[in-house]
């Protein structure tokens, strides 16, 4: 097992769609309460009873950081993505390449992206989630060796769940 840093882990079965994470996130980063200024955003489909908070997964390597043309985005020591607003030219590349759609542009003037910076290691969204749908986890990597087709199938299914816990499952 190797640790690559921490990220916010989502348990969609516990998320109730109350948007409290979004409101605290925007307060923590922008000093005001707003859904659109949040770095985490809850996707809801009522007819499925479905709520899912989308937030930066601290990819390694991160396409947003790799492709940022001005070097405004960089990786910090927690694995978080940091933004240097002075260098950002609002080109939207990060927003377009993010595989999770977790890097929205600031909606009013679209001058910079809203990317989770893990609040310095104690994310407000995790602290304020009323149902523990959000938690903080180390990104770890586990190697397993399936011995037959049934095990391989079970592991591939489990991988989706493990991914939500922040665990990469590789077949050896």
């Amino acid at each position: 097992m190797e640790s690559k840093g921490i990220h916010v882990v989502v348990d969609p079965s516990k998320c109730v769609g109350c948007n409290i994470c979004e409101l605290w996130c925007s307060y923590e980063h922008e000093g005001v309460f707003s859904r659109s200024l949040s770095r985490i955003s809850v996707i809801t489909y009522e007819r499925l009873g479905f709520d899912y908070p989308v937030v930066c997964q601290q990819c390694e390597p991160a396409p947003c950081v790799e492709l940022c043309p001005t070097g405004a985005l960089s990786k910090g020591k927690l694995g978080e993505v940091n933004l240097d607003k002075g260098k950002c030219i609002g080109c939207r590349v990060c927003s377009e390449v993010c595989p999770y759609g977790a890097a929205r542009m600031e909606p009013r003037e679209a001058r910079y992206p809203l990317i989770c910076d893990l609040c310095g290691g104690e994310p407000m969204c995790v602290a304020r989630c009323p149902t523990n749908a959000l938690s903080l986890s180390k990104v770890t990597n586990v190697k397993v060796k399936p011995r037959n087709a049934a095990e391989a199938f079970a592991i591939s299914e489990l991988r989706k769940l493990a991914d939500e816990w922040g665990v990469d499952v590789d077949e050896a």
């Binding site: 109730v16 109350c18 409101l23 925007s26 005001v32 007819r47 009873g49």
Partner: protein
């Protein structure tokens, strides 16, 4: 005028006739006097919708308003009020829903949306910070509530757009159609959807990228944390989170206030089979929050897992539809009840009124005053096929549905039958609770400003049956005893004032009121922290009284007096036949006298001039007198 902190700051007026709109500044003094939401709407209704206006005519207006707490992560949920002159009662129409719509409209900058006139063609309104777009809704006409939601979000290409829509029932001018938000959340009562449809508006969609601030955010966070602590420490936290309001069904069985077979059986032998407890064990798959900022999510998502209806899923049900389509109509089949409840919501009808008109028709049949041939369906208690067919007939105004679609008061007048068992007050049908076993609630039904409704007062403390609590809160032991009579006037006064505040903050009653999280003191502290306008506890209570009084003034202007504050005869004269409250009737007149005295109204139910003046409603007093209504001092 500077924008008041914590408010959107603007009032949006939409003129459908001329397809124009304008955003006015919200007057801060008005925001202080009437807080927001229900209070603000009541103020507009009084001053902008005079007597004699046809509820379904273009002169009627429909208001949607949100409150000062909405948009903050406070833990109490975010709601909105829809207010208009009611086509069902002809009086004050007002309905409240928990929905993300309220938060979105605030982030778009609007505290209140006022819809005026009538559009020539079907439209839906798309409201954002930059204004209103009148979108073509010709193709949406006839769609159900969920279809409308999906079509609009698809057309606008944005899943975050919040939609309030009406279903086919409203289009067919069923008098008790609601406005439905987030697919399942209903502003169901008093026919607000009918008003919207009469204006040729199929839906309102809103999206807001703005933000709100608090004047003293550190103090606000302190208040929020204290409210959250109270929520989490409350022993009701888990039962409510697991069952929501559906748990009331078993409570009704225990206390004997169920509306079994149209208020003939206060207890039934199949309560568990149709209870929230059974739903939690066998049906619920997930808990959801109906709205933003909720720390006690109680909207359950369910799925039927076996049997012929396996795979049917949806949100809810709350106690009112659950009780309405099971015990009230004598139906033991929970699966079928769930299907019917979803159908009623998708047609966009008020579940309480729908269950009353069906139960009323069944009791008429039981008394032999109508035949199956005349009704066009086989009328027997608890037959799910009959119930479902009647729901279809009402929504599309087919056969006897044409009569039932008028609500129980007018239906009994049209057939000239069963007037004594038409269970309504001021034209609004009674909820799923028998006032003979809950006397404070009964008084609440009689005096509620929108008709037979518990949410104006919700005096839950009387269910505690705790004489010490009654003595402590109101100086009368009986005030907190459900079969007591003395002190109920004080009880209802207190909780009506409190609920006016909770409704105007647009918070959730399950937490804010039922757990006493947002009491007058907490509300005053929250308001002060948000706006920077210093408000004391007693000023907050006064604001509650002001809202109750302006609503009463509206009713008085329409001719409502003590003689309208009545309960149906069965509750006054026929003793309960079984259950823990067996033998009880409700002693309404004694309680009414006390209620009016504490309110500062005459014994005829008219606010005294001194009461109105004390609450800063001088113009209202002058208006009433100018219309020939004599006010006593």
């Amino acid at each position: 005028m500077t924008r008041l902190k914590g408010y959107g700051g603007k009032v949006l007026r939409v003129d459908l006739t001329h397809r124009t709109y304008r955003a006015e500044e919200l007057d801060p003094s008005l925001a202080k006097a009437f807080i927001g939401g229900r209070g603000l709407n009541a103020y507009r209704l009084y001053w902008e919708v005079p007597p004699g206006v046809d509820p379904l005519g273009p002169e009627n207006k429909l208001m949607i308003a949100t409150g000062p707490l909405v948009g903050f992560p406070h833990g109490l949920g975010s709601r909105l009020n829809v207010t208009s002159r009611s086509p069902l009662t002809g009086l004050l129409g007002d309905s409240n829903a928990g929905t993300h719509f309220s938060e979105e409209m605030k982030f778009a900058g609007y505290d209140q949306i006022i819809i005026e006139g009538r559009s020539e063609r079907p439209v839906y309104l798309y409201i954002t910070e930059s204004g209103v777009e009148f979108m073509d809704a010709e193709g949406l006409w006839g769609f159900t509530v969920s279809q409308t939601h999906e079509a609009i979000r698809h057309e606008l290409g944005d899943q975050r757009v919040q939609v309030g829509a009406v279903g086919p029932a409203a289009e067919n001018l069923v008098k008790f159609a609601g406005v439905f938000f987030n697919v399942y959340r209903a502003a169901g009562r008093t026919g607000m959807g009918t008003v919207l449809a009469s204006k040729n508006v199929k839906a309102i969609a809103v999206r807001g990228d703005g933000y709100i601030e608090a004047e003293n955010v550190d103090e606000l966070i302190k208040v929020i944390d204290e409210m959250l602590r109270r929520i989490y420490e409350n022993p009701q936290y888990w039962p409510r989170r697991i069952m929501g309001t559906s748990r009331v069904l078993m409570a009704g069985q225990r206390l004997g206030f169920l509306p079994g077979r149209h208020f003939q059986d206060p207890v039934v032998d199949y309560a568990y089979d149709v209870s929230g407890e059974r739903l939690a064990r066998e049906y619920n798959v997930k808990v959801r929050a109906c709205s933003a900022g909720c720390a006690l999510p109680c909207a359950r998502f369910f799925m039927i897992k076996r049997g012929p209806l396996a795979g049917l899923m949806g949100e809810g049900p709350e106690y009112e539809p659950l009780g309405g389509f099971t015990v009230r109509v004598g139906n033991r089949d929970l699966d079928r009840a769930l299907k019917i409840i979803l159908k009623v919501a998708d047609y966009g009808m008020d579940a309480i009124t729908t269950s009353e008109v069906i139960a009323w028709l069944m009791e008429l049949r039981q008394r032999g005053e109508i035949t199956d041939e005349e009704a066009g369906v086989k009328l027997e208690w608890g037959n799910p096929d009959t119930i479902e067919e009647l729901v279809d007939m009402i929504a599309y105004r087919r056969g006897i549905g044409k009569v039932l679609a008028e609500g129980v008061k007018r239906a009994s007048e049209m057939l000239n039958r069963g007037k004594d068992i038409a269970f309504h007050v001021k034209g609004l049908e009674m909820i799923q609770a028998d006032p003979r076993a809950l006397k404070g609630y009964g008084l609440g039904f009689a005096v509620a400003s929108r008709g037979a409704d518990h949410l104006r007062s919700e005096p839950f403390v009387e269910v505690e049956d705790d004489p010490e609590l009654g003595k402590k809160m109101f100086g009368e032991p009986e005030a907190a005893m459900r079969l007591g009579v003395k002190g109920k006037g004080k009880l209802i006064n207190y909780f009506e004032d409190l609920n006016a505040i909770v409704d105007s903050f647009e918070s959730c009653k399950n937490t804010a009121e039922n757990m006493l999280i947002l009491d007058f003191d907490m509300a005053a502290r929250a308001y002060t922290a948000i706006t920077g306008i210093h408000v004391t506890e007693s000023e907050m209570r006064e604001a509650g009284m002001r809202i109750v009084n302006i609503e009463r003034a509206y009713l008085v202007r329409e001719g409502v007096r003590r003689s309208h504050d009545r309960l149906p005869k069965r509750f006054l004269e026929e003793p309960l036949r079984s259950g823990p409250a067996k033998g009880h009737v409700i002693e309404l007149d004694v309680m009414l006298d006390e209620y009016y005295d504490v309110r500062g109204w005459t014994r005829d139910g008219v606010p005294r001039r001194s009461t109105l003046l004390r609450l800063g409603l001088k113009e209202v007093a002058m208006d009433l007198e100018a219309r020939g209504i004599k006010l006593e001092d």
